[in-house]
Amino acid sequence: MPVVIDHRPSKAEAPRVRRDPAPSRLTYRLQRMWLTPLYRRVVRVGLPAFLLAMLGGLWLADEDRRAALTGSIASVVTDIQSRDEFQVRTMTIEGASPVVERALRAMLPVDLPASSFDIDLPALRLQVMQLDAVDTIDLRIKPGGILSAVVKEREPAILWRHQRGIEILDRGGHRVASVTSREVRPDLPLISGEGADLMTEEALALFDAAGPILPRVRGLVRRGERRWDLVLDFGQRIMLPETGAVVALEAAIALDRAEDMLGRDISTVDLRDPSRPVLRLGIDARNTIRTARGQPMLDADGRVIAENEG
């Protein structure tokens, strides 16, 4: 208790006025309005959405601002895409011949180094697959900025001579490359005729079966897109049936072994009907037989030479 009590009107606190706890009529009405569901939804969702849309619309109404916006977005995108982490610097190619490798490098749509976002791998793959020499290709971007291409090339298996030139085919009959002459690839067997490329499997089987007479074989000719003729040197040919060509060829080779059939003057071995092989003799043999029989000789075209003329 202080000794002297200060009774002067103090500056401490004004007497507190007790506030009326009742809401005023305006507050009450506003509160009730706020509790109305529709009004509440309009104010809380509709109005902000409308304001946002209006502001956005007004801002975008100007052409320059739209251009600036799209430009800034594009620049941000390129900034990110051209970051060092996304750069592709080198391209490694495995399993491709130098020609294919050069073609692959030429096909790459961008100059390296480039961003990996600019390289469309599926499109590039489809483009590369259009190269005839490529069988499969595995394209991927490896860490470290390497575009790796693992190529499996088609293996040349056969030469196909047709009216427009000579092509190299693989085992499945798909074109690998074109060649100018047969001498470029003397190691490959030769086929010819329309539709021969569709039957390369059978042709290769026939070449395999022709083992002993292979040095004499000039090639296979597809006749009428239906059956094969095996052409030997000196113009001899073996006409093979439509089905069972390999068996028929093996039969002809067996005959050749036993009788040295192909060493004789026979122009054609007709095996088109496997049950009834037919031989066509050469002109010399026929003339020898004719002279022995006392008949007039034949000329190279098969016509009888008149006595009076000779």
Binding site: D20, P23, R25, T27, R29, Q31, R32, L35
Partner: protein, 444 residues
């Protein structure tokens, strides 16, 4: 009576519309406090078996989603004294309850305790022309009840058919399809002061609310605090309010008598304030925290600090013993109970088959009241708490909220009243076009 019939019917329609919208407010305007409950009706009784509340009295199809109570203002003896003050109190409590509920309340059902209620038992009888009771005959017999002169400016608050009888078969709750020659009915009518209802309607309208129903507070609290057996076998409910004490007698689930003793808890507070020379708030605190009616030897030594903020230090540091407080309260409580006894005697409660008396309302929380009441009113006394309803907070389940809870039950399942039946066509006021239309509709 036709005008009243129309207004009550209109209120019933508003109530039906409110139930369809699913939200209805309960406004219990008492002398000492105003309570507001916001009920959500979902129709199918989805809220079940939570909190141990079973489908007892049909209270399953609603749930309390907001509740608030505040000090009443501008009220005296259950009547509105200062309209603006009462309107502010209603605004306060409705705003708080709405905020809690999160929905807007447009329709309220209100109750009032004062207005000098007077109950009448009316009887009517008609001859059954068709020999069979139908809806039309029920309406006719209700309309045929001979109403006494209620007095000037009295309004009918409740008009409930209590009993029907066909020839000599009495005690029928629903006489329809009975065969007989004569139909009798007993109707209980409760009238209150018309101006008071007008004031209440005006107050509620000024708060932008629509009145969907109006009930008497003693009736509502009896519905909440009498259990079903007591309502069926007969019981009296004594509602100790702030401004007055309501007495209701129920039998066969119908209110048959209601009266009002204009002495309540506020008068007890006033006695304490005068007897101990303290302010009314201090007296109210002393009554609530330390009140009682049975003094014991220990209460003499139980000294209570009077407290207060009067500025007089000596006065504020006084101490009174608890026996002093009890000594002030007891005569007034005895006076209330004796008045209740007189009311019950006047109603003929002695002749009822069951003498059960249930004490409810805020004043029934005085310790020892049931002992004192047993000596004055009769042996079968219990202190009643309102029925549990779904979603009501625990602090709002004490007896002082029984009339609010009863109003909620009233909102959910109102008992049949006279205006629930079609008025017979011949007692329509001269509306010849409608009558002609009816005649055409019935005959062509």
């Amino acid at each position: 009576m036709a005008e009243l019939y129309q207004t009550q019917r209109a209120m019933r329609n508003i109530r039906r519309a409110a139930l369809q919208r699913g939200v209805i407010g309960i406004l219990d305007i008492g002398t000492s406090k105003i309570a507001c409950l916001v009920l959500r009706f979902d129709g199918t009784g989805t809220f079940r078996e939570t909190d141990g509340i079973g489908p007892m009295a049909g209270q399953v199809n609603f749930r309390v989603i907001g509740a608030a109570s505040t000090r009443a203002r501008g009220m005296r003896r259950g009547e509105i004294e200062t309209m603006a003050e009462t309107e502010r109190a209603i605004r306060t409590v409705v705003a708080a309850a709405q905020k809690l509920a999160g929905v807007r309340v447009d329709h309220v059902i209100a109750c009032l305790s004062g207005g000098r209620p007077a109950s009448y038992g009316l009887a009517g009888e008609i001859t059954l022309a068709s020999g069979k009771v139908g809806d039309h005959e029920v309406a006719s017999v209700l309309a045929a009840c001979d109403a006494p002169d209620f007095g000037k400016n009295r309004e009918v608050l409740h008009a409930q058919p209590v009993n029907f009888a066909v020839d000599n078969r009495s005690g029928l709750p629903d006489p329809r399809d009975h065969v007989g020659n004569k139909l009798f009915c007993d109707m209980h009518v409760l009238t209150v002061d018309g101006d008071m209802i007008g004031n209440l309607v005006q107050c509620i309208r000024r708060c932008d609310l629509e009145l969907a129903g109006i009930a008497s507070a003693p009736y509502a609290s009896a519905r909440a605090s009498l259990v079903e057996d007591e309502q069926e076998l007969g019981a009296a409910c004594v509602d100790f309010g702030g401004g007055g004490t309501g007495v209701t007698v129920f039998i066969k689930k119908h209110m048959i008598f209601s009266d009002h003793v204009p002495i309540g808890g506020n008068l007890i507070t006033q006695d304490i304030a005068q007897g101990l020379r303290v302010g009314l708030p201090v007296a109210e605190r002393l009554k609530t925290l330390n009140g009682g009616v049975e003094a014991t030897g220990r209460d003499d030594r139980d000294m209570i600090d009077v407290g207060g903020e009067t500025g007089d230090w000596e006065s504020d540091r006084r101490q009174v013993s608890r026996a002093d407080v009890i000594g002030v309260m007891r005569p007034r409580v005895e006076e209330i109970l004796e008045n209740v006894r007189e009311v019950l005697d006047a109603a003929g409660f002695d002749h009822m088959p069951s003498q059960q008396i249930v004490l409810t309302g805020g004043g029934s929380q005085i310790p020892g009241l049931d002992g004192l009441a047993a000596r004055i009113l009769g042996p079968n006394i219990r202190c009643g708490r309102p029925l549990r309803i779904d979603g009501l907070a625990h602090q709002l389940t004490d007896p002082s909220f029984s009339s609010a809870v009863g109003l909620a039950l009233f909102a959910a399942h109102p008992q049949d009243e006279w205006w629930d039946f079609e008025m017979p066509a011949d007692s329509y006021p001269a509306r010849s076009i409608r009558r002609a239309y009816r005649w055409f509709k019935n005959n062509w």
